[in-house]
């Protein structure tokens, strides 16, 4: 019986200890930018879900495609209907690991360049991505930033010939998140 109680407590503590390392947000910001001869397109999504496990460096982003806001509503409709097909593939995700998470000391206020690698899933297609970014720490709050480009072709998003001058083949993605420690 003692054993059980001990195991119980160890488990309870373990899960607490693990949870204490979690940072999370539901209002992260991801924007993308397409630069083409005829027009530039920028869309912003400020309802990004993201979480980072500080003990392992594991992280996850989840983005609802329909939450991307465009300057023109027709762009938004076409984005959802014709390009990312939001009804079929409602969200995009990025799960992976910050490989040098040990370089960050939460106790100090500083900014660290981090390397991230993981699986980026857009439009139902998953690709390995390697990118770098920064994580800044201020009073226990983490600020994450990263910028990288993807090829639309890689994610089976095709651009019709009639709009090749309106939409770039490569899209620049900017990530801006503020993560707060998860309180149990």
């Amino acid at each position: 019986m003692k054993k059980i109680i001990i195991v119980f407590f160890i488990m309870a503590f373990l899960s607490l200890a693990v949870n204490a390392q979690k940072y999370i947000t539901k209002t992260g910001k991801i924007s993308f930018f397409s630069s083409a001869p005829l027009e530039n397109i920028e869309a912003v999504n400020d309802q990004v879900n993201a979480a980072l496990d500080f003990s392992t460096g594991d992280f996850v982003f989840k983005v609802l495609m329909k939450s991307f806001e465009f300057p023109k509503s027709l762009m938004q409709e076409h984005f959802n209907e014709n390009y990312v097909e939001s009804d079929k593939y409602p969200d995009a995700s990025f799960t992976g690991k910050i490989t040098n998470i040990k370089d960050i000391n939460v106790a100090n206020n500083n900014t660290v360049i981090v390397q991230a690698q993981g699986d980026l899933t857009i439009h139902g297609v998953t690709k390995k991505i390697n990118t770098s970014g920064t994580i800044g720490i201020k009073n226990g709050v983490l600020t994450g930033y990263s910028k990288f480009t993807i090829l639309l072709k890689d994610y089976n998003i095709s651009i019709p010939k009639t709009v090749v001058n309106n939409i770039s083949k490569t899209i620049e993605i900017t990530v801006n998140i503020i993560l707060n420690k998860l309180n149990n």
Binding site: K26, A51, D53, K88
Partner: protein, 289 residues
Amino acid sequence: MNKIIFLVLGLFFCPAIIFSQNPATLLNDSTASKKEYVQATFKTSRIVIGPSIESPAAGDLLFTVSHHFGKISNGAYEFFGLTTSTIRLGLDYGITKRLSAGIGLSTFQKNLDGCIKYKILSQSTGVNIMPVTVSYFGEIDGTMLKWEHPERQNYFYSRISYANLLLIARKFSRTFSLQLSPSFIHYNLVERKIDQNNVFAIGAGGRLKITKRTSVNIEYHYLLPGQTAKDFNNSLSAGIDIETGGHVFQLFFTNSQPLFNRGFIAETKGNLGKGDISFGFNINRIFTL
């Protein structure tokens, strides 16, 4: 016994620990229960020739050129209708998310029309489920033809008639949408005593997407029994929508010549049985102002 309890407890806690090590589970799926409005029930503000629940977005201007050629049954002498046509030029502007207003000029009866469309309900999923989108469409129109009744005072309002449609639509899936459009048409002045001042009709239309950017659309307006239904035919139109970015091209066949609502709902002359079908197209162009 101890072992059993241990196992049971182990079973309870192990998943908890495994999950808590995967940050994915931290993202409580609050996103799934979010209220979400259904987009793009139809490609543009017309199903084929009649109004759909779609409107230009707030601040957008929709320019529509509609063209109905003559009857194919007119034969080779008229190049199967291509040498005659009626045209309507239309402008619709999105005032707010729900409200849009438009004006149009038709060659048919030199008709001027003005319309408003107001979205009463929006189809949505998530926490608040609304099964349908409901819009009101109102059109007032007047013929600018020369007054042909010298024995009668030419009051301006005698030239006016009204079309009121309630548009009830549902996007059933990515590819399939249906709309019911009951309508009420009022003429301020009719030619004969037996003619109806008030005409009721029931319209229905739908679209089926065949590719990401094209769909097949069908629309039908049924006149409820009365003098109008005796004198005129029900309107049937079928065609395809081709969306190319800023434009939506609609190519169709129809038995209606007029391009405004009072005209095609209550004054369609083409008899399908006699092959009175004409080819037509709408070019819809959105300008973001």
